[in-house]
């Protein structure tokens, strides 16, 4: 589903990622871990096509995005749900409209998915906050709204960047359970985090794999942490 082959990427002053190789199978649950500044967010950006590798290939769903243009590239993007570290909810929209946004962006009729929006808000525990603006929400609530927005279109892959970075441990567990449930529903989940406690908790709930990023190199971890 996702494969990295000899992927290199660097910003102007330094090389961030070197010769990365990895395979992420459909329906798997991966953690991407490593110290701050190791390039976890950069790697996620390569996967959700915000950045292009300097060399090497990223393959998504059997396609090389670099060879695709226009609608075909767009269709790949639409199969990925992204949960940003800083949520990136639109402040002028309420929670329900933020969740509806991808439907509208994908050309679907939000009115036809009213039940989905309601169910999803209930699932993330934000039904009572549906009409609230993001700035009125706590960090945990914003993160859950961001998760709802990421999955409303039922993407095949969910990429989350430090989804528990701004919340307390209890809320972190609650958010983790949402990702585990999504994985049980067949979604491929990749979470970038440096929170080893979160990974340990996840491993008690689901089968997970760890991708460890350090010094620009990616290693695939097993059970050890």
């Amino acid at each position: 589903m996702i494969s990295l082959s000899q992927v290199n990427f660097g910003y102007e002053c330094r090389e961030t990622l070197r010769d990365l190789d990895a395979e992420i199978a459909p329906g798997s649950f991966h953690f991407l871990t490593g110290p701050s500044g190791a390039g976890k967010s950069t790697l996620l950006k390569l996967l959700y096509l915000e950045l292009r590798p300097k060399s090497g290939h990223v393959e998504l769903f059997g396609e090389d995005p670099d060879t695709l243009r226009g609608p075909a590239r767009l269709m790949l993007r639409r199969r990925i749900g992204i949960v940003f570290q800083d949520f990136r909810l639109l402040d002028h929209l309420n929670v329900a409209d933020n969740v509806r946004l991808p439907l509208m962006v994908h050309g679907r009729d939000p009115a036809a998915h009213a039940d989905d929006v309601t169910e999803l808000l209930r699932w993330v525990g934000l039904l009572h906050r549906a009409e609230a603006r993001p700035r009125a929400l706590s960090a945990g609530e914003q993160q859950r709204a961001a998760i709802a927005r990421a999955v409303i279109t039922s993407p095949d892959v969910i990429l989350a960047d430090e989804p528990t970075g701004n919340v307390d441990a209890e809320m972190g567990m609650r958010i983790l359970r949402l990702f585990v449930e999504l994985n049980r529903l067949g979604k491929t989940v990749l979470i970038a985090t440096h929170d080893l406690g979160l990974i340990r908790s996840a491993r008690r709930m689901a089968t997970t794999r760890i991708l460890r990023l350090a010094d620009g190199q990616l290693t695939v971890g097993g059970a050890e942490l």
């Binding site: 959700y48 915000e50 950045l51 292009r52 609608p71 767009l74 269709m75 993007r77 639409r78 992204i82 990136r88 639109l90 402040d91 002028h92 929209l93 309420n94 929670v95 329900a96 409209d97 509806r100 946004l101 991808p102 509208m104 962006v105 994908h106 050309g107 939000p110 009115a111 009213a114 929006v117 309601t118 808000l121 209930r122 525990g125 039904l127 009572h128 549906a130 009409e131 927005r149 279109t153």
Partner: protein, 295 residues
């Protein structure tokens, strides 16, 4: 209240604003559009009035001529002149002005009274032309030979500058209208760039969740085109009202700036629609160019 008791979110009302409301910057762009449409309509009306005036002068003056018979000419000079005029192709009619008509013409300079009687005033013949009129140079020579001192005046010496003046006003009006249109396009393009810059985070999020460039562009272009069109409609409407109702507006520089209601209404609609089109096109170009610059 527990979550189980919570009602469903308010139903989707069929409209989800991708961009926040524009606030003061949006109001200012509407105001700028209003001012430009106001100026554009006044300018265009001036140009149209000047063109119409030039055409009227051309039609009126090219259809007539004047023959001046010198004050000291022989007694039979009038008869000779009239005979020549009536025999000349291109002249439909020739009518000598009587003393009362001449007195009326000279009254602004000489005043009412007996002055005309005591002054050597040339006699005038009003000539109505047909077709392309006569060969003016040949006719002038013939008249001069028959009655020395007689002058054939086809008004060309002062008709030309008048018509040129009207045409110059028309050209200036066209040039000014083009400048106003360019300024409007530039203003909308700048507003589009500013709006994109101000909403860069929204653009980024929408692109990452799979928004097409066309979809994003539409979200920016629509409100800009709408605001431009709305401002232009008000501006053009205000200008039309000013032309119609402001005292003296119809007499600016001697031009009839208040044309018939129907053409003025059509011109008003054209300015508003043109401004909306300019807004839509320039916003589209600016937004698409800016989006193309994004990685």
């Amino acid at each position: 209240m527990s979550e189980a008791e919570e009602p469903a979110p308010a139903p989707y009302r069929g409209r989800l604003r991708l961009l926040p409301r524009g606030g003061w910057s949006a109001a200012l762009s509407t105001l700028a559009s209003l001012a430009m449409a106001f100026l554009a309509l006044i300018t265009l009306a001036t140009g149209i009035a000047a063109a119409q005036l030039g055409a009227d002068w051309q039609a009126a003056l090219s259809g007539s001529a004047t023959v001046r018979i010198a004050a000291g000419a022989e007694a039979d000079a009038d008869a000779k002149v009239l005979a020549i005029l009536s025999a000349t192709p291109g002249i439909a009619a020739a009518r000598p002005l009587d003393r009362a008509e001449q007195a009326a013409l000279l009254a602004p300079w000489l005043g009412e009274g007996e002055a005309l009687e005591s002054l050597p005033v040339p006699r005038l013949v009003d000539v109505t032309l047909e077709g392309g009129g006569p060969d003016a140079a040949a006719l002038a020579t013939t008249l001069e030979e028959a009655a020395p001192g007689t002058v054939y005046d086809d008004h060309g010496s002062w008709r030309g500058p008048l018509i040129e003046g009207a045409r110059a006003v028309e050209r200036l009006a066209i040039g000014a209208s083009v400048l106003v249109a360019l300024a409007a396009a530039g203003m909308v393009a700048l507003a589009a760039r500013a709006s994109l810059a101000g909403n860069a985070e929204i653009v980024r999020v929408v692109r990452l969740i799979g928004g097409e460039e066309r979809f994003i562009a539409r979200a920016f272009v629509r409100p800009l085109a709408w605001r431009t069109g709305l401002g232009a409609a008000f501006g053009a409407g205000l200008a039309a009202l000013a032309l119609t109702f402001l005292p003296g507006a119809g007499e600016v520089v001697g031009l009839d700036l208040a044309p018939d209601p129907l053409p003025l209404a059509l011109l008003t609609l054209a300015v508003a629609a043109g401004a909306a089109l300019i807004g839509w096109v320039s916003a589209n170009l600016a937004v698409r160019a800016a989006l193309a610059e994004l990685p």
